[in-house]
């Protein structure tokens, strides 16, 4: 199974998430992760969807079906080596009095993770990276006692000098988001 990252750019209208996801559901393609956010251009939303599939041509068909949704402005299907991508994870780790103290230096220098909140007997550590890097840190910090772990979906940009606006319909003047 190969991981594909599908980036969908849409007009920011009501109920669009459902219109996109039913295309996956109907073809029994499981969504591994999904993030939606505003792009740098006003009124344009970006969906980053990761799936695993063993047939490239089926993914291409899926991409063309997504393009058919009226509000969709552009769709791209990427392999991992065609994008720069990341995820972010938060670990809530127990630090009870008398317990094993966490090693901030290792966390920072080896794992490039940061404590973002100090509670009375716990800390929240933020770790950004790809799936494997987050998993490595998970293995390291596990022995301290993970109270909660949450990971975002993937965010990704294509490895191309082109900007999003080059793929958007020309006749519209696409203002920056802020």
């Amino acid at each position: 199974m190969t991981t594909y990252t599908i980036c969908v750019f849409t007009e920011n209208t009501f109920g669009l998430l459902n219109k996109i996801t039913v295309i996956f559901t109907r073809r029994r393609i499981n969504i591994e992760s999904l993030t939606v956010s505003e792009t740098e251009r006003q009124g344009v939303s970006r969906y980053t969807i990761t799936i695993k599939h063993d047939k490239r041509e089926e993914v291409e068909k899926l991409v063309r079906q997504i393009r058919k949704v009226v509000e969709v402005l552009a769709v791209f299907g990427y392999l991992d080596d065609e994008i720069v991508y990341n995820e972010i994870a938060l670990f809530k780790v127990a630090t009870p009095i008398g317990g094993k103290p966490i090693d901030i230096e290792t966390i920072n220098k080896i794992y490039k993770a940061w404590v973002v909140y100090w509670g009375l007997d716990y800390v929240v550590i933020e770790k950004a990276g790809n799936e494997n890097e987050i998993l490595d840190f998970f293995r390291y910090i596990k022995s301290y006692g993970i109270l909660e772990f949450v990971k975002s979906g993937r965010v990704a940009v294509g490895k191309t000098p082109a900007g999003l606006v080059e793929y958007l319909p020309e006749e519209v003047h696409w203002e920056y988001y802020v």
């Binding site: 007009e11 039913v22 291409e60 068909k61 058919k68 958007l168 319909p169 006749e171 519209v172």
Partner: protein, 586 residues
């Protein structure tokens, strides 16, 4: 669906009287809808009132001089009627129904229309926007329900949005690959006045949705090169030819290149049956030669068709030897089933127009004659037997005789099943838009409502529907609509007291285990009479001619029930999942 909720009385009081000043008349959302429909050239609405759509029906009451409305007996009927109308007129069919069950009853026609590319604008009432999500009376999430089966949907909660959204709806429904759009119209948006003067601007382009009508030159050149070098080129055309109005362009292309042309079920009548380049129709119950010779073509030119599994049989074995040119307006259809060597994304008419000067004048008489050999076999093994006057009347005889009596000029509506295939096999179509049936979805009950819808879309044409006894009972209540509207459609029940196609499959593939396919039918003629529609039954062959004459001579709606052979099978037949080369003649 006529129940009116208690809350409606209160809601009606919300209507605010617009200020009587010099300013332009301020319309309510419902009035804006009427004006918008008129601006789009709507002639007729097929609909059924109910609680949440009542303010719109109230507005309609003042527009009956400009908007015709046909009151159906069930919302499914409204949808199929609008499909029939769209298929004969080429214009979007408009439906108007209430929320909840009104909307859900319309889901089957919407699903039918998306798969058969029929432009519909479905306006569905909805509860007040403040009640959304509260399980209010007759509240259904119709946007959620219809999303997977419509081309586009939108919920209007503000009267000001009406003109722009209706303009967008019509544009989306009819452009590109046509399809159904759904407008979910909340009650408050219907009753409240617009906050600005009504103004209508037709939509001609959208930023996010741009169907490619004009094909790319390089695609045309690649296609022309393949066509010019082909020894046994073969055109497979579909409904795209009818939708884009490319009948003349197809003829010109076929005549210049001398390529044999076969139709899909929904492409039928795009080319006259007697055209020298026309070889028949494709698919599970299509003609023998057109199916088998797909294995001999070296270049296949697919025009406005989508390689449905009923056409390809086992797609992994379909036209493997051929180079494939796929002319199609929907890019998602390219490579979906059959890999295209030369895809041409564009409208069929515009593409054929531009392709014509690029292709060479040619002569493929020898290749075309190969089809005739197969025609002869089919004639001897199937057609002769089906048209031989012995035993009980056969469906084929009825269709054949009607075809002769109407000189191939009628608009034939078919329901779903054996009679649908027999109507396609034996009617000798002369004019375009003459075969209207539910192809992709196979919706039983399609024909009665589609027939009066088709008649509304083409009042000058003779509209004759072939309907099975099973199908007839799925939308039998629409006889009431026919009677009330007085639309002179001609209905022929081909009655074998069976769900014939299912029975045929049970015979051939389920060891004749006839599981729930025999029907105890009512007296159809008496039922029609109860609705105020004249009719009679024909059981004897010698009465068939006269029976059809009576049907055709009636200037009112008429029902003819023909008792046909009980256990007739439709052949040729490509068994489901088999390669087309494995087509069976008996």
């Amino acid at each position: 669906m006529t129940m009116v909720a208690a809350q409606d009385a209160a809601a009606l009081e919300e209507v605010q009287t617009p200020a009587q000043t010099e300013a332009p008349r301020i319309l309510s959302g419902a009035q804006a809808l009427m004006e918008s429909l008129i601006a789009e050239g709507t002639e007729v609405i097929f609909g059924y009132p109910g609680g949440a759509i009542m303010p719109t029906y109230d507005a309609l009451f003042d527009y009956t001089d400009r908007l015709d409305h046909i009151l159906v007996r069930h919302e499914q009927g409204a949808g199929h009627a609008a499909q029939g109308y769209a298929r004969t007129s080429g214009k979007p069919g408009v439906c108007l129904v209430t929320s909840g069950p009104g909307g859900t009853n319309l889901v089957t026609p919407i699903a039918d229309a998306i798969i058969d590319c029929t432009p519909l604008v479905c306006i569905i009432g909805q509860v007040k926007s403040t009640l959304l999500g509260t399980d209010a009376f007759q509240e259904t999430d119709i946007i959620g329900v219809t999303t997977p089966v419509c081309k586009w949907n939108y919920q209007i909660t503000n009267a000001d949005d009406v003109p722009a959204i209706i303009a967008k709806a019509f544009y989306i429904a009819k452009s590109g690959k046509p399809g159904p759009v759904v407008i979910d119209f909340t009650r408050d948006a219907q009753v409240s006045p617009m906050t600005k003067p009504y103004e209508y601007k037709k939509v001609e382009t959208l930023a996010s949705y741009k169907p490619r009508v004009i094909p790319k030159d390089e695609h045309l050149e690649r296609a022309a090169q393949l066509i010019n070098n082909a020894q046994r080129p073969y055109v497979l055309f579909g409904q795209g030819v009818l939708i884009s109005g490319a009948e003349e362009e197809l003829k010109a292309f076929a005549e210049k290149t001398d390529i044999p042309c076969a139709s899909t079920l929904l492409g039928l009548s795009a080319m006259p049956i007697d055209h020298p380049n026309y070889v028949g129709w494709l698919g599970m119950h299509g003609n023998y030669g057109p199916n088998v010779l797909t294995t001999q073509a070296d270049v296949v030119i697919a025009i406005g068709m989508r390689f449905d599994d009923r056409v390809t049989g086992d797609a992994t074995k379909y036209i493997r030897q051929a180079k494939v040119i796929h002319i199609e307006i929907d890019p998602a259809e390219i490579d979906k089933i059959i890999k295209a060597d030369a895809p041409v994304v564009g409208d069929a008419k515009e593409t054929l127009k531009r392709l014509l000067p690029l292709v060479k004048q040619n002569n493929h008489a020898a290749w075309r004659n190969e089809f005739k050999k197969y025609d002869l076999i089919e004639e001897q093994k199937i057609t002769q037997r089906e048209l031989t006057p012995e035993g009980q009347i056969k469906m084929a005889e009825v269709v054949n005789m009607l075809s002769e009596k109407t000189k191939g000029e009628a608009c034939v509506i078919a329901d779903v099943g054996q009679h649908q295939m027999i109507a396609a096999r034996y009617y000798k179509f002369k004019n375009p838009r003459s075969y209207i049936a539910s192809g992709g979805l196979g919706t039983m009950g399609f024909a009665i409502p589609a027939a009066f819808g088709a008649k509304k879309g083409a009042p000058e044409r003779e509209v004759v529907a072939f309907i099975g006894d099973g199908c007839f009972q799925m939308t039998i209540q629409e006889l009431g609509t026919i009677a009330q509207s007085g639309l002179p459609v001609k209905l022929i029940i081909l009655n074998n007291n069976y769900l014939g196609m299912v029975r045929q499959w049970q015979q051939l593939f389920f060891e004749k285990r006839y599981s729930f396919v025999e029907l105890q039918n009512p007296d159809f003629v008496t039922i029609a009479k109860g609705f105020g529609i004249a009719g009679h039954t024909c059981s004897e062959r010698e009465n068939l001619g006269e029976s059809l004459d009576r049907l055709l001579q009636s200037d009112k709606p008429y029902l003819l029930e023909v008792m046909v052979e009980k256990e007739e099978n439709v052949f040729p037949m490509v068994p489901a999942g088999a390669a087309v080369a494995d087509i069976r003649l008996d």
